[in-house]
């Protein structure tokens, strides 16, 4: 095996030292568990880090990885993320800690893609498109990040040394089958056996894999708990660095509903984010810039966008009826959209874009929906409205500013608008009622830092515990229920 080294080891050590001072106690505990040896005389250590949104679990994983290598506990790291997007997020977390891009290699399936400076390498299943030098470089990369389906390539090329630590991120999307596949592809080897062990990072309440089979719906933590008792607790990260306290409270109420094991621990906002609304994030608010939207009046929009209201729930039953129906409709692809809700989301996004700015930069709100069709509808409306208003925004910005809940996992945004779409007299909400998939709302809402606007039909969603709890904002100073007479 080629020797592994960081290109900027000294600078990296310095950066980590500075970073270490900012770690909280839970994070320090989690990191020391990850670095520790897995096999002990009286117990086996499988570090499981429960990191709810904004608690910095990926950063903890990245930090622990670097520390393990720098202190000589591990020769290399294999960082596994369930999707390519999550893999890229993890790569960025490593780079934020000061690693050279070329030292942390994202291995993916796109044959022919080979950029060693950026640390991005594609390979065919049999590695036949890589030369001996490419294989050598992969072997000597301190960190390799990939999805579980790329592990066949890692095994085939012997790309990791035996003293590798395998870190599995976003384990809510790792079902038992994938977990055993990871064991098989990383450690089931007689001669070069894995000594570094495994660590699981994630929020067990986040989205599971989409499947028709109950057995595959449970994540690996649920599977482990159904077979064995865990001695002691999980490493829980409860201090979050993302959300304003009002949003955090809404997330806690949802977490309580979603929690499938007894050990519920509420999230606490750190001091720096506790009362950090959009103005706290540096945005200036100019109320006068807000004009009438297509559906919402300027008065309504001012009320919704007031920076003191960090959590706003809009009852879409009360949206004014214009030319479009306020009910949902099914599209050709089988997905759902709601034109009125899409229009309202666009009204709010455009008004926010005009009303909030930071230095010379206008705020670009993020719109998230569980439904593909709604995402497309909003993109389409947003593009044409911006064009009509003569506002120039790059196409890519619009593409990126509207996304599905699944795609939004692992990201954060100053201002989030969530569109739940469903509205019908029969009160059907489809998979948003499913025990697991209702976590889409939890994921979407927990992306917000300084302001969250939720569009939902009270008549359709009301009477269900999760949604009732979500809007249970009695006595909150920073919440607004709009159209909730």
């Amino acid at each position: 095996m080629d020797e592994m080294s960081f290109r900027n080891r000294e600078r990296l050590e310095e950066t980590l030292k500075n970073f270490e001072r900012r770690l909280n106690r839970d994070q320090v505990d989690a990191i020391s568990s990850i670095i520790d040896e897995p096999v002990h005389d009286d117990y086996f250590l499988l570090p499981i880090v429960d990191g709810p949104p904004g608690t910095g679990k990926t950063t903890v994983g990245a930090y622990a990885s670097l520390k393990a290598i720098l202190e000589g506990n591990s020769q290399g790291i294999l960082y596994i993320a369930p999707t390519n997007f999550a893999a890229l997020q993890a790569k960025r977390a490593f780079e934020r800690l000061g690693m050279e891009s070329s030292d942390v290699v994202w291995l993916n399936h796109r044959s022919g893609l080979r950029d060693w400076n950026r640390g991005v390498v594609g390979a065919r299943y049999d590695l036949s498109d890589l030369g001996p030098n490419d294989i050598r470089r992969l072997r000597s990369a301190p960190i390799i990040i990939c999805t579980p389906y790329m592990l066949g390539r890692v095994k085939k090329g012997g790309l990791r040394p035996s003293n590798t630590k395998v870190i599995i991120d976003e384990f809510s999307q790792i079902d038992p089958a994938l977990f055993f596949m990871i064991l098989s592809r990383t450690g089931a080897n007689v001669d070069r056996y894995l000594r570094g062990g495994y660590a699981l990072l994630g929020d067990p309440l986040q989205l599971p894999v989409v499947t028709t089979q109950g057995e595959l719906m449970q994540n690996v933590l649920e599977f482990i708990l159904s077979h064995h008792t865990i001695d002691g607790e999980l490493s829980s990260l409860t201090l979050q660095y993302r959300m304003h306290v009002e949003i955090c409270e809404a997330i806690n109420r949802m977490r309580r509903e979603l929690c499938f094991w007894g050990d519920f621990r509420p999230l606490e906002p750190s001091d720096e984010v506790r009362f950090r609304d959009l103005t706290g994030l540096g945005y200036e608010y100019t109320e006068q810039n807000i004009k009438n939207g297509h559906l919402l009046t300027s008065e309504g929009l001012r009320e919704i966008l007031d920076p003191s209201h960090t959590f706003v729930v809009i009852n879409t039953d009360k949206l004014p009826r214009r030319s479009t129906s306020t009910n949902e409709e099914r599209t050709q692809s089988g997905s759902w959209r709601n034109n009125a809700e899409a229009e309202a989301a666009v009204d709010i996004a455009i008004a926010a874009h005009q009303a909030y700015h930071r230095q010379n930069e206008q705020l670009v709100p993020q719109i998230i929906s569980p439904y593909n069709a709604q995402v497309c509808e909003i993109k389409y409306r947003l593009k044409s409205r911006l064009q009509a208003l003569g506002i120039s925004v790059e196409g890519k910005v619009i593409e990126e500013s509207v996304m599905t809940a699944y795609k939004s996992q692992g990201r954060e945004f100053p201002f989030v608008i969530v569109s739940l779409v469903r509205k019908n007299p029969e009160r059907r909400i489809g998979f948003l009622e499913d025990e697991k998939l209702r976590a889409q709302v939890y994921v979407a809402c927990s992306r917000a830092q300084g302001k969250l606007v939720l569009l939902m039909s009270r008549e359709t969603f009301g009477g269900r515990d999760l949604y009732d709890e979500l809007v249970n904002v009695k006595g909150s100073r920073h919440a607004l229920l709009w159209g909730w007479d």
């Binding site: 086996f44 036949s128 055993f180 057995e215 607790e233 999980l234 593909n372």
Partner: protein, 515 residues
């Protein structure tokens, strides 16, 4: 694993099915929520049927462990040389038939190997097989020159009307790929690298394979054939098994093959329905003419030492508990494949072949814009194609779909029942791609050798499939973990995977946080 079951001297013919379990209308039209075990049988491929004829245990490995293609030949076939040989022959023949440059076949082979980035070993194997093949084929290749696009390679066929046996009236669904339909010499060809120079008989079960392909082809209504094949009478075609050394002509009247096919389909249905049949399969392992046991395996079967008989290692000690907890997972992974992949095969085939015209049109309406997108090829740019989604109404649906990173597309030319099916990669970041206009630049695999078949290639369908095959990969990996182990105690004590399995399924202490 297998030693728990006594072996019969010879496998019993399984009672033929009284009926195939077809998906009901509400499943086809997706009016019921997909959850749990599918209430219909899988849609088997020709390869699945052949594997089941070879041995019913292959069906268990296919469904539970994601293994397929049990019939193996020389090692190089397993490494893909067979596929390359067939592809190269198709390119060579097309080049000659379409009046391309007169190139020496070995020069053409060199180019092919360099384009496909094949290593020296593979190239040398291909060279060797090609020289044997050319010794017999040089003259017939000369006759081919200028004949035009009349030889079709890799033709995808799918039926819901295959019947076997005498007057039993049970209809079966089967799909697969025919290596070559030669409308010049009126032959259906199954090409293989298996077999030796002096073999007087075709390689084991290759005769059955070409016969089964012919049965599937002839069960499809003529209306569904592309114009260029519609007037052909396939009842008169010769069935040929072609090895590099010889061509074997296969009889079409094969009462034994009829029985074997029914037997294989009964195993497939029974094992998919109930795990009880798994035990039966182990008891009946082997072929009808050659039983299989340790030390007396069927030599052509690639599964014997990979999947059926393997040494049990001492560690992990909790292997039985691991096995018990993996069983429902294997089945769940297979069920998922049936819901995602096999149901789509039923939908697409019934969309063209079902007797009920209402169901056909409802299926077409349901699938268009959700799974299929009618397209036409606008132009060829280098080795890529600019394709345009014809129907404006479904363009937006495709835009909705391509937001997902896990998508797989095929392009189908002709009909789904009889056509060319090729893997397509939509190049979303290219300048020529304009989703709003329904225009995409795409790389389409395996298009060499199809140039000139213009009637096929102008219009087609873009077919979107969820990546069901990843579940198969997971099954394979999990199965290999289940078989894996070590004997040495000192190693086992410190081996992380052994310790993790033994802790998870045993009484040892598991901690998630350091003490």
């Amino acid at each position: 694993m297998s030693s728990a079951y006594p072996t019969r001297a010879l496998r019993q013919l399984r009672q033929p099915l009284r009926a195939w379990r077809w998906p009901r209308r509400e499943h086809l039209l997706e009016q019921v929520f997909r959850r749990g075990p599918p209430p219909f049988d899988p849609f088997p491929s020709i390869q699945d049927v052949i594997d089941a004829v070879l041995c019913p245990v292959t069906v268990v490995h296919r469904m539970y462990h994601g293994l397929h293609g049990a019939l193996s030949g020389p090692r190089e076939i397993a490494e893909g040389v067979g596929r390359h040989f067939h592809r190269f022959v198709s390119i060579l023949k097309s080049n000659i038939a379409l009046g391309g440059k007169r190139l020496d076949p070995f020069t053409l082979l060199r180019r092919y190997c360099s384009m496909e980035r094949l290593d020296a070993d593979s190239e040398s194997h291909l060279r060797r097989y090609l020289s044997y093949w050319l010794r017999r084929k040089r003259e017939s290749l000369k006759e081919l020159r200028g004949q035009g696009p009349r030889i079709f390679h890799e033709v995808h066929v799918s039926t819901i009307n295959a019947t076997f046996g005498e007057e039993r009236g049970v209809r079966y669904p089967i799909h697969g790929v025919i290596d070559e339909i030669d409308t010049i010499s009126k032959r259906i060809v199954e090409r293989t690298l298996r077999g030796d120079e002096d073999d007087p008989n075709p390689p084991f079960l290759e005769d059955f394979q070409v016969w089964l392909q012919w049965k599937v082809l002839t069960s499809i209504s003529k209306d569904l054939f592309p114009d260029m094949l519609r007037n052909e009478d396939f009842q008169d075609y010769d069935l040929i098994v072609e090895t590099p050394y010889r061509d074997f002509t296969i009889e079409k009247d094969q009462p034994l093959f009829e029985k074997w096919a029914e037997d294989a389909l009964a195993w497939i249905s029974d094992i998919a329905r109930s795990s009880v049949a798994v035990g039966d399969a182990w008891q009946n392992r082997g072929h009808h003419t050659r039983p299989c046991s340790i030390g007396n395996e069927i030599e052509e079967c690639g599964f014997a030492w990979v999947a059926c008989y393997h040494r049990r290692r001492r560690y992990p000690e909790r292997r039985s508990a691991l096995h018990a907890s993996l069983l429902p997972i294997y089945k769940a992974l297979y069920n998922e494949q049936i819901w995602v992949h096999d149901l789509l095969l039923y939908q697409l085939t019934k969309m063209e072949q079902d007797a009920d015209p209402n169901l056909r049109s409802e299926l077409r309406r349901l699938l268009t814009g959700r799974k299929i997108y009618p397209l036409e090829i606008e132009e060829k740019i280098g080795d890529r194609y600019c394709v345009k989604i014809i129907d404006e109404k479904v363009r937006m649906s495709l835009v909705e779909e391509v937001q997902d990173e896990n998508l797989s597309f095929d392009v189908i030319f002709g009909s789904f029942s009889v056509g060319l099916r090729r893997r397509a990669y939509l190049l979303l970041d290219e300048r020529e791609t304009k989703p709003e206009d329904g225009r995409y630049l795409a790389y389409i695999e395996g298009m060499e050798g199809t140039e000139g078949i213009s009637a096929f290639l102008l219009k087609g369908l873009l077919l979107k499939e969820d990546p069901w095959f990843l579940k198969r990969l997971v099954q394979q990996a999990v199965f290999s973990l289940e078989k894996w182990g070590i004997d040495r105690e000192d190693r086992a004590k410190n081996h992380v995977v052994v310790r993790l399995i033994d802790t998870l399924f045993g009484p040892d202490t598991l901690r998630a946080k350091r003490r």
